[in-house]
Amino acid sequence: MIRFKAVGVRFGATEALADVSVTVETGVLCALVGPSGSGKSTLMRLVNRLIAPSSGQVLVRGADVMAQPAPALRRSIGYVMQSIGLFPHRSVAENIATVPRLLGWPAPRRKARVAELLALVQLDPGLATRRPAALSGGQAQRVGLARALAADPDILLMDEPFGAVDPLTRRDLRAELRRIHAETGKTILLVTHDPEEALELASQIVVLRHGRVVADGAPAALVGSTAPAFARALLGGEQPGLRRLSLVPAREALAAAPAPEGAPRLAAGASLADALSRMAETGAAVLALEGEAGSLRLAAILERGR
């Protein structure tokens, strides 16, 4: 668990963060979003003491970060950044094994861990002996992710990790991250300026503006009509209603009344946006849901779009 308690950060005369209180529960993937200069990176860098709070407290696993030695704290937290920062004079394997080496793991254990991680981020084991200069942008970012996960930290900090790769690779890497999060259950703090990325990956979103928290909640809640206007505009884009529907599972609008015979059937994991799309395609105002007895009705869907 990561907890910011009334945290403020000043750089000289500028106030980067003011009175920020946020709690990120264990196992949650929390996205920090906001325009540039909103303080989202600063907030993340407080967690591993790359920045010290000027006021307030940052608790990681229940303990104040300022009361812990910085090297030990940083070695226990994975860190991925946009510029990756692989060591150009070390092989991919050596890069990945950096933190385990700092922690004094014996060589055989490091070697086994590198092999495991290359498999986890779906990289060819043959790349292990290569230098970073021989990697493509996407491969380098995967190595960066593997390096951050090397010592199996329970917390992962990601600072715009997919900002510098092409859109196709970015989509792959996002899917990868979602899979890794689901498999490992780590607490992940993700800084991004891409609202779609935040909505797609996060189970909690914190919206920052001018160093203050504007909104903090589940993605669907932040694009709903009750969300603060700034958050809704930032995350919802041109079609906040559709965005919200895409975040709500179809099951939530299910009515007890059974669907009529021959009504189109929707897959079990579908969202309300999927349901709406199917209605638009078929002209049917009532749908059945795979594995459920009730029915989905247009009015119920529209009600949840707000």
Partner: protein
């Protein structure tokens, strides 16, 4: 004919032109001017053969390896024929007579070696090393066979064999000392400049100002400065410090070397990718570890480049040490200048050139090896 081929043809023509110029100079003794003997007249058939070998190394049709070998053979033939011609010229003259090397010889030699280098450059490193080794062996063989003994340069060398060898060793020792002192000055300054970038400007200006002072002037001005220092602190004499001798030579050379070394170390330290340094920090490396594991390894290739420049400069500049009584190969050069004895000058100058070339090749290799590691 391509531009590269035309360049090679020019080199071969220069070598031929040398053969038509004064090749040997036969004089009654080491100081009097001699009568010139033209290349073709002196060398005869062997000279013609050498010219053919050099010409054959020009065309593109001839593979680089074979061409380099041909050029090497041409140069070796020129050397052997020159030695023999000198022996013939000296045969019925008085023992004091000398056979000096003329402008034609040097022109052909430099052109021939350049042609060899131009063809060898296209070969893989292993082939180049093999060819250089073959050249050195060939030269040693000619030397051992006594082919050069009749040449004035060799006579001069035989007369001062011990002095030349001592001067060579002293030159190396003095250059090494200057390099060590320069490192002692440059490393802390570079480190300080890295920690406080504000100081870099002032240090750079100070070290740069030294470069503006002509080398001879710097060597000379250090003598009265050191004399004044020793007058104020006579205890320093106890450490072997003197106003003339090695002290001003080492000090002046070190001052010159400080700038390239300082620049290379500072440049190397700041060359590390900021992202890599940031990543190292975020992964829990301390400042010391970051320097040791990230900054230094990334700095080494840059540093090796500066070191190469400094080593070559040290060997060259130390020649001026002969002027301030430091000894070394410069002493021979300046003695030769004072006596108008060309061969004596060459006895000092040729080893300096060879040393500088060897040092350059060795440090270049180091730079290359480190560059590959980064």
């Amino acid at each position: 004919m391509g531009a590269v081929e035309a360049g090679r043809a020019c080199l071969a023509l220069l070598a031929l032109a040398g053969l038509a110029a004064p090749w040997l100079s036969v004089a009654p003794n080491r100081l009097l001017p001699g009568t010139p003997v033209m290349g073709l007249a002196a060398l005869g058939a062997m000279g013609g053969l050498a010219a053919l070998a050099l010409l054959a190394a020009v065309p593109r049709r001839v593979p680089a390896g074979l061409a380099a070998l041909l050029a090497l053979a041409g140069v070796a033939l020129l050397l052997a024929a020159t030695g023999q011609a000198a022996a013939v010229a000296m045969a019925d003259l008085a023992p004091a007579a000398r056979a000096g090397l003329g402008a034609g010889f040097w022109l052909s030699l430099v052109a021939g070696i350049s042609l060899f280098a131009a063809r060898a450059a296209a070969l893989p490193t292993l082939g180049q090393a093999g060819l250089v080794l073959a050249g050195v062996l060939l030269l040693a063989l000619l030397w051992r066979a006594g082919v050069f003994e009749a040449l004035s340069l060799l006579v001069e060398y035989r007369a001062r064999e011990d002095a030349v060898q001592a001067a060579l060793l002293r030159h190396l020792a003095l250059s090494g000392a200057a390099l060590a002192l320069a490192l002692l000055i440059a490393l802390p300054l570079a480190w300080a400049g890295f920690l406080r970038p504000g100081t870099a400007g002032a240090v750079g200006a100070a070290l740069g100002a030294v470069q503006v002072v002509p080398a001879i002037a710097l060597f000379a001005i250090l003598i009265p400065l050191l004399a004044a220092l020793l007058a104020a602190l006579p205890a320093l004499r106890g450490f072997g410090l003197g106003a003339i001798g090695p002290a001003p030579a080492v000090l002046a050379t070190a001052l010159y070397l400080a700038l390239p070394l300082w620049r290379a170390v500072l440049g190397g330290l700041t060359a590390a990718d900021p992202a890599a340094v940031a990543a190292a920090q975020a992964m829990g490396m301390g400042e010391g570890r970051i320097t040791l594991e990230v900054r230094l390894p990334l700095a080494l290739p840059v540093f090796a480049g500066g070191l190469r420049l400094a080593v070559v400069q040290a060997i060259g500049l130390m020649t001026l040490g002969g002027l301030v009584g430091a000894g070394g190969l410069g002493t021979l050069v300046f003695q030769g200048l004072a006596q108008f004895a060309t061969d004596l000058m060459l006895l000092g100058a040729l080893p300096v050139i060879v040393l500088a070339l060897l040092a350059d090749a060795a440090t270049r290799g180091l730079e290359h090896a480190l560059g590959r590691g980064a």
